[in-house]
Amino acid sequence: MKISGALKHLIGTALFAAGMALSTAAMADTIKVGVLGSFSGPYAPWGVQFRNALDLYQEQHKSKASGYDVELIYRDVGGNEPARAKQLAQELVVRDGVQYIIGLEFTPTILAVADIATEAEVPTINLNSGTSSVTRASEFLTRTGFTQWQVAAPAGEYAFDQGKKTAVIVSADYAPGKDALDSFRYGFEKKGGKILQEIKVPLGTTDFSTYLLRLQEAKPDVALVFMPVGPMSVGFLKAYVDRGLLKAGIDVYVGAEAQETDLPALGDAAVGIHSVFTYSPYQDNPENKAFVEALTKKYGAKGLPNLATVAAYDGLALVYHMIGATKGQKDGKAAMESIKGLTIQSPRGPITIDAKTRDIIQNVYLRVVEKRGDGMLVNKTLATQQAVKDPWKELNPAK
């Protein structure tokens, strides 16, 4: 371990290089893409959606991007485990020699990987974390999901436009939740509404009764809610309708919480929940129809996509574009340049990568949950805002 003397150092470096060569040289012509996600644990549903979309995309394109073979290497982070995410990212870059990384659900895991992205100049695509600021953590970060500001600020505006004058914000207490609080408030107050109270719910809460009691007592016109998708979002909305708040006339506006994949768990009580979001599998455009059809054909009813699926699908499309633009060479900077200002037709509508901020620009829809003729619960679009940029970055320009 203790290397003393130039000779020893030389030998060491040579050996190290040899080891590196051994582990990377084997498949020089294949371009490797590392996929980091939660394929186990309570957050596994995300990983499943990622994989569904990525495998489909690979199948549709025969794993060839502009003639280059593309290989996906999956690694399981197993939840919000930044140390593990970092270790895996490091191994992907160093041992497996990946040129691109996509995936990751959580702000901390993204931030843990950002350093690696910068250092190794590996373009990294954030598929889910909604914290606005994360794309600033590295020049090699971009996003195909959404930012919390992007949907919550319009949600605040829409709610006011629907005649709601007072609101209570309920949010899970972590970084994206902070963004949600600020952006709901920004949107709602900009129009002239009044925020009565902010209720912060600790992450991991399963019993929401006390928080709902507070909400009920504040007697707002509307509740603006943010919970991380999964146990908390389903649990909260369920408790919300069970407790009769919706019936009592307190409308609820959410973002990703009312995705079609989670509606069955809520049951018919979900009818009437408003959401402002960027994707619904029942959206009416040709790209989406083909996308949903291909997924359900491949995976059956379980293949019903949500935004995570679309984000992964679009994310890999970006990677394919970058591979073409760099002619398969490892050139992170050129690859990132090639997607700046790029617009692609996503199943959710057109999306653009902002040339300045590397963040996503996309349409935002106001929807309400309805029961369709066949008994399915779906989100019906009420209004659309075109090409919404991340408002936080507009309000907080980079220095």
Binding site: S40, G41, P42, A44, P45, D173, I199, K200, V201, P202, T205, T206, D207, S209, T210, Y211, L213, R214, Q216, E217, G230, P231, V234, G235, K238, D242, R243, G244, A265, G267
Partner: protein
């Protein structure tokens, strides 16, 4: 100052939460009292009960109230089987071996549940007559919570009667008080323990099924609520049912009120309380030995 109806509402929420904790903890405190074994797998039995009820209701379409006793019996059978086999080894090994082995067993339970039911959070639907709320004046009370308090109070009463008024109860108390002496008096402590263990698993299962609304079912259930249940047992005093009941109610209420009045602190309130309490009374509310 919050209104009376708020306080009442909080009280019912807290009490029902506490009663669920009591149901799960009651079996643990009895086995702990007799064998001095920290059975970290105990919450796993609550989980097994919950998932059994889930399978019976959503796969086989049975109504919850029919599924409930079947789920309890099933859990008891599984508990009894494990007690007769793996726990025999657990009893013999040293204290940390016991902790580890029951932890290992918990992992096995988590993995099994995940394999069968998947990692998603599951929901046992509440039967129609029990869902919804009662509105009385400014008071909103969930019907299900009232039902919970009533059922668990009934169970607690039943337990108390068994403990105080039957020969089985007398023997059990003797065994908790001094296992060696009880053995010398001709009480078959091993058999007693097996019965108590299985019964404890049944109670945990009851708690797991009824409490699924508050402690939702997921594969990591067995680990997630373990600390809480262990604290109920320790605060109550090892082997004391009465202690566990009081401790569970107190924890449920403190947690609920804490979350209402100091929402930013979240679960911190409850752990500080427990820690401070154990410092003052390291042996808990009621300690037999």
């Amino acid at each position: 100052m919050p209104s009376l109806s708020t306080l009442l509402s909080l009280f019912i929420d807290g009490a029902s939460y506490g009663m669920i904790l009591f149901l799960i903890a009651s079996g643990l405190t009895v086995t702990l009292g007799i064998m001095r074994i920290i059975n970290l797998a105990h919450c796993g039995f609550a989980m097994i009960g919950g998932y059994a009820a889930l399978a019976l209701t959503s796969w086989m379409g049975l109504p919850l109230l029919v599924a409930l006793p079947i789920a309890i019996l099933l859990t008891m059978a599984i508990g009894f089987l494990l007690e007769q086999t793996i726990y025999r080894v657990v009893y013999r090994t040293h204290e940390f071996g016991q902790i580890l082995m029951t932890l290992g067993l918990t992992y096995l339970m988590v993995a099994t549940i995940n394999l069968i039911f998947g990692s998603l959070m599951q929901n046992i639907p509440v039967p129609e007559p029990l869902s919804g709320v009662w509105l009385a004046g400014g008071l909103t009370v969930s019907k299900y919570r009232i039902f919970l308090v009533a059922v668990s109070a009934g169970v607690a009463l039943l337990l108390w009667t068994t403990f105080e008024w039957t020969t089985f109860g007398t023997r059990l108390r003797a065994a908790i008080d001094n296992p060696r002496m009880a053995r010398a008096c001709g009480i078959d402590v091993g058999r007693l323990l097996s019965i108590a263990f299985a019964a404890g698993c049944g109670l945990a299962a009851l708690g797991g099924v009824l409490g699924a609304q508050m402690l939702p079912l997921e594969p990591f259930y067995a680990l997630k609520y373990l600390v809480l249940v262990l604290m109920v047992v320790t605060v109550g005093g090892l082997g004391s049912l009465k202690g566990s009941l009081l401790a569970a109610l107190a924890l449920g209420l403190i947690d609920t009120f804490g979350r209402y009045f100091l929402p930013e602190l979240g679960a911190f309130v409850i752990y500080v309380t427990v820690f401070a309490f154990l410092l003052i009374r390291p042996r808990g509310l009621f300690q037999n030995a």
